[in-house]
């Protein structure tokens, strides 16, 4: 009976996005508590006194969702400094010299726009982390969405510029492909953390009360 209750609890927790270590810990503590209670009062009363699994899962979700949102914002934020590799470190150290004295305008404006969008992404991500720390769910999500959109714009414009650069400078293709690959990987990490934040926001919004 207790095991069935614990399985129901695990299912209710999973429905609210709580899995893995967090769910295992609650399950372990619930089992310990129920065994102790049932030794004195029997399994049926122990389960009745422990409360319905739905109610417990809702309370657990209320406690866990702000932390999950903060984690998503921190992962997003942590990916941003690593963009120094594709945006600066890799091209600066490995690109062959360009054949022009002054960089052509069609590349320059793309670099500036890409850098500007990246700056907006960093600022918005900082706002998202601060909002998540203060448990402002909606502000966190809005800031992360702005950060994600700015980052996507930065990477997309940067990618167009990189392709044009590779066409204009012989031997630059390998370096720029490496930069683009690294950008795509880091961008997908940021996108995954944004998707996770959106999911937590939806789950939290759907909690009763």
């Amino acid at each position: 009976m207790i095991e069935r209750y614990l399985d129901e609890l695990a299912a209710e927790l999973a429905r609210r996005g709580i899995r893995g270590r967090r769910a295992a810990r609650l399950r372990a503590e619930a089992r310990d508590h129920l065994l102790e209670l049932s030794a004195d009062h029997g399994e049926e009363e122990a389960i009745a006194r422990f409360g319905p699994p739905q109610a417990l899962a809702v309370e657990a979700a209320r406690a866990a969702h702000p932390l999950m949102l903060l984690r998503s914002a921190l992962v997003f934020m942590a990916a941003l400094p690593l963009f120094v590799l594709p945006l600066y470190a890799i091209p600066e150290n490995t690109l062959p010299p360009a054949p022009w004295a002054a960089r052509p305008d069609y590349l320059t404006w793309k670099l500036y726009v890409s850098d500007g969008a990246f700056g907006i992404a960093v600022l918005a991500a900082l706002v998202a982390v601060a909002a998540a720390w203060r448990r402002r769910r909606r502000t966190t999500l809005v800031a992360l969405t702005v950060a994600g959109s700015s980052l996507a714009a930065s990477v997309a414009i940067g990618a167009i510029g990189a392709i044009q650069w590779a066409q204009a400078v012989p031997g630059a293709g390998t370096t720029l492909a490496l930069s683009l690959g690294t950008s795509a990987f880091l961008g997908s990490v940021a996108a995954a953390s944004l998707a996770s934040a959106q999911r937590v926001h939806r789950l939290a919004r759907d909690l009763p009360g």
Binding site: A28, H33, L37, R49, F50, G51, A60
Partner: protein
């Protein structure tokens, strides 16, 4: 709920079941809550840095034991002061 849990843990570390028992005993049954809901509240307080917890083994059973942190003690002291002021004011008005 938070104040009740912090106050219950001020005498020393306890695991979840003992927290509920202590709370029920001290309140003479007045706080007869759904016992499972104490765990999310403990997790929330732990995440806020007011409690710390460790796994321990007693009578062959593994349990998570909770204790107040320095921040938790400070918070409890503040909350108790505020509560006494509120209770005194209520007593003055109602009694």
């Amino acid at each position: 709920m938070d104040l009740l849990l912090l106050a219950t843990l001020r005498r020393g570390p306890l695991h979840g079941y003992a927290v509920v028992e202590e709370l029920r005993g001290t309140s003479e049954g007045a706080f007869d809550l759904a016992e499972g809901t104490v765990y999310p509240a403990l997790y929330r307080l732990e995440a806020a840095g007011l409690l710390a917890s460790t796994w321990s083994t007693a009578s062959g059973r593994r349990r998570r034991t909770y204790r107040l942190t320095a921040r938790g003690r400070a918070k409890l002291a503040r909350e108790r002061k505020e509560w006494r002021r509120f209770a005194e004011a209520m007593t003055e008005v109602v009694a």
